[in-house]
Symmetry: C2
Subunit: 240 residues, 2 copies
């Protein structure tokens, strides 16, 4: 599946552009287009801000105008934080990327505006649809690189590539019920010997203890560790 192109319109700060490159690389986006970057390109400090995502910066292309930057695209999304009085569909990032993922073989671009003032209404009018973010109305100002990060993150999810680097699967299988039963038996034996159970409440308390132990979903190794701990504690008692 072709990942969307990221288009930054008149970006100003080297740090933001570098952070954009890093955010893109984090989620597998690689094509960056810059429209008339303020104070020229390349910018001093941009590579440092990309902390290693320099391949995105090295391959970045610079355009003089938005129409040139979007000329080859089949579908264009414009990101904006505010209403533009235009009647385009406004998508949340996840909805927008689900739509993009469904556009097999189409070249898609996502356009981000200037740090302070965003995109102009004329620039937004060139887009097929709008992407806006579900930010808190009390603090809606999203950093440029963070807007790109959310789009990349949702693209990765929508394109079915969002695999976790590792799973929480058990490295050792859960203990057999027999191992659990014998652990429970020796625990209850020690507690009995230690005078833990008030006779009238014995059954209820024993059941609650068994419930606690089973909630731990112990592995064979856990059971061995627990039995060792139990032996150590009864040893103390023996020494007294």
């Amino acid at each position: 599946m072709i990942a969307p192109v990221v288009i930054l319109v008149e970006p100003q700060l080297a740090e933001n552009i570098g952070m954009v490159a890093r955010a893109m690389a984090n989620f597998g986006l690689s094509e960056l287009r810059l429209v008339a970057p303020k104070n020229g390109w390349p910018k001093k400090g941009v590579r440092e801000a990309a902390s290693g995502a320099t391949h995105v910066l090295d391959d970045a292309t610079v355009f003089a105008t938005v129409p040139e930057a979007i000329a080859d695209l089949n579908y264009l999304l414009a990101t904006t934080a505010r209403e533009r009085g235009q009647m385009k569909r406004a998508y949340a990032p996840d909805e927008a990327m689900a739509d993009v993922a469904a556009r097999a073989g189409q070249r898609v671009g996502v356009m981000f505006g200037r740090e302070r003032i965003g995109l102009t209404n004329d620039e937004v009018s060139l887009a097929d649809a709008i992407v806006t973010f579900p930010v808190s109305p009390d603090f809606p100002s999203l950093n440029l690189a963070q807007a790109v990060l959310l789009v990349g993150y949702e693209w990765r999810k929508a394109s079915g590539q969002a695999r976790l680097p590792f799973t929480g699967e058990m490295q050792s299988p859960p203990a057999t019920r027999e191992a659990m039963a014998s652990l429970v038996a020796s625990l209850e034996g020690s507690l009995e010997a230690g005078g833990f159970y008030p006779p009238e409440k014995r059954d209820v308390i024993a059941r609650n203890m068994r419930d606690m132990l089973h909630r731990m979903a112990m592995t064979e190794q856990d059971v061995r560790t627990f039995r060792g701990a139990l032996r150590a504690m009864t040893r103390i008692k023996a020494k007294e």
Copy 2:
């Protein structure tokens, strides 16, 4: 619903902590805890990096150790990019926040590690579960503030607060079918007069034109604009 607490363990860079505060504020998280920030607290430049989210910084609390920082929490998530040989459940951010949103009335914390080396295995062992991010294996290194941003974003979605700042709803109602029909009629009239239709293909072409016009989902205003444009073009012809 109580938003999760963000816990940064030994954060170093003022800029990252400021960006964390901003990312939190973007999605309505407000409680920030710092464990032994490197080179002390408050840090020079942190407020600038927060670009306005200073309320999060002003309310941030500093702790000497992780156990003190998490003492009052009912449920703790640890973020990590790599396997720790621990048998905890590993969640993606959306799964983790869905679980958190279901913990009504519980105080939940999400713990983030040091910029370079993350959390220690001992720190991770204190958590109930792990959160890890579906990053690209080719470039997995996620900036601290961006990890916080993704957690805040998914929290906002999971807690049902992810409303868009505006919708793409039409400001003017769709045109009536009658208005569309009369627009189509006058367009076809002008095209007829202009000798646009090869007789044998007239019906097919006319149908395709009507299809194009209806795909635009015109409003009353759009129809007026389009009719004016049509009149202007036929005027040129008249002048010739």
